[in-house]
Symmetry: C2
């Protein structure tokens, strides 16, 4: 297939690159830990070119990027768009990276500039661009992660969003708080376990109670000999349940919640929503970000059709 | 004055010893970082005797202890009393430490054995014993700390209690989360600052919203250039406000909240309660634990009156 462009999701601690065909198919991909933190030291162009070289991408191949590479501490700042913002503006307001001869574009993030509860996202807007396309134009999206985003989309415009620190709190509490004694070396949460699902229900019913529910894991260890895996699953369930409870109290779920996730988190959040009797629409986060990046690329390079067949390049 | 006994508050990371007169006056005191964690390595008796030696306490001086020294990982286990529990039982169920020739007693902690929300305390029960004495017999107590306790006391009996991980979450979020960039090296919160008090009000109004309110500190830094001290004060206010909001939604404050605190936390919580228009009764935590330990000592050694004058001992 004809090689069209490279698409990159450049996070704080992760780097993912795909080579895409004109039709948006994935021809090749690579992942590394050279996120913004590493690349800020090594050099963004150095990291990018090293991967393109391994993939045997031609020097003329254009590149579209989303994520932290566009932050102020990144490669080149792509200033936040203020919400409400049409998702098409994420493409229209992309920045061109100065310097490299290669054509490189970075998509901007979104900001909620309210002084009471300012908020930001970088990377998720590109998933939203991919997810809210075709016949899907509106809805409430849940995007779980280190900093989970809950986003209200109406007519392909992001009207509001909130960040919950769920994943980061999970890591800190599991590994660095007093609860580390209860959690031990456990590192797997079974989405179907009763410990996980009961914790989801407990915290969802009263998300304000999170702090004391968390400490009950310590009590369970000391008084009832609760096992480490059970403690780990309860901790995961409490944090996810309280996020869902708080977010649904704040946002309007007029219809199903659009769960944009992949991997383990997709399984955990999916099980949590199902156990709470909440309808969801599953959207693969990896597919969504790829589709968003591809949408940008088609806009930037609508007539580009000059790249070679990738099968021949690789050979 | 006649030396009567030594009283010790032996926490996880702190050790405090007082020499008390027959009337309960403090004749001498010392503090160190030889809490349970250190003492479990060094040896509890070694730590205790080293301090008693510096204080020139006679070999026959009896010692009353509260806190983590009575935990399973401590010196000798003083098993939790199950609530509801009369505060007088904390004294009646103290354990005598086996081995040393010196008469040493450790007061037990309290446990809430409910399987849904098990909870434990060690040390605070002794503050409660001291605080709920004389004409004060009932009320809701707020005991701020690494693990804040909210306790319902009726007729000198602890009927229920809850632990909120406020102090520990503050430390983790301020120093180890993404918010560390916003907080920087700030380490002082002015209880009268508008940043602190506004955050208290925001989180108290909606304690379920804590996680996204926390992330708004990151947004404030990125979008509005919020200063590090302002971020630190807002973080402190959010955690304290959400604790008060959640706890008052759960507990019955029939009358003033009894704030049992000392030092910086007394100032911060006092200002928070006042700004929320909530009536409190201030109780000094140091005085309360001393009074509780002394109450125990008077029970264990009601007729002991044979110790020398401490002025002569020191000379």
């Amino acid at each position: 297939m004809q090689l069209f462009c490279a698409a990159i999701d450049w996070g704080t601690t992760s780097f993912r690159i795909w080579l895409l065909s004109e039709g948006g198919s994935v021809l090749a991909e690579r992942r590394s830990h050279e996120g913004m933190t590493v690349a800020a030291e090594t050099g963004f162009e150095t990291v990018l070119e090293s991967h393109l070289q391994v993939l045997k991408a031609p020097a003329s191949l254009p590149v579209v990027i989303c994520g932290m590479a566009g932050s102020r501490q990144g490669w080149q700042e792509a200033r936040y768009l203020t919400v409400p913002a049409l998702l098409s503006e994420v493409v229209a307001r992309a920045v061109h990276v100065d310097g490299p001869s290669r054509d490189i574009r970075i998509l901007p993030g979104l900001a909620r500039r309210d002084t009471k509860r300012p908020d930001v996202m970088r990377g998720e807007e590109t998933q939203l661009l991919g997810a809210f396309s075709g016949t899907r134009t509106s809805g409430l999206a849940c995007m779980p992660g280190t900093h989970s985003k809950w986003v209200t989309v109406g007519k392909r415009s992001v009207t509001d969003f909130s960040t919950y620190m769920t994943g980061e709190l999970f890591g800190l509490v599991a590994r660095r708080s007093i609860l580390r004694h209860a959690v031990g070396d456990a590192d797997h949460c079974d989405p179907g376990s009763s410990d996980f699902l009961e914790a989801v229900a407990d915290a969802h019913a009263n998300p304000a109670d999170l702090s004391r529910l968390l400490f009950s894991i310590r009590g369970g260890q000391l008084l009832h000999g609760r096992e480490v895996t059970s403690s780990y699953e309860r901790l995961s369930g409490l944090l996810i349940g309280s996020e869902i409870g708080a977010a649904l109290a704040n946002g309007d779920a007029d219809g199903p919640v659009h769960l944009i996730a992949s991997g383990k988190l997709a399984g955990l959040y999916g099980a949590a929503f199902a156990s709470l009797g909440l309808e969801i629409e599953d959207i693969d986060a990896d597919e969504a970000v790829l589709k968003g990046l591809y949408t940008g690329a088609r806009h930037f390079w609508p007539t580009m059709n000059t790249q070679a067949d990738y099968g021949q390049i690789k050979a």
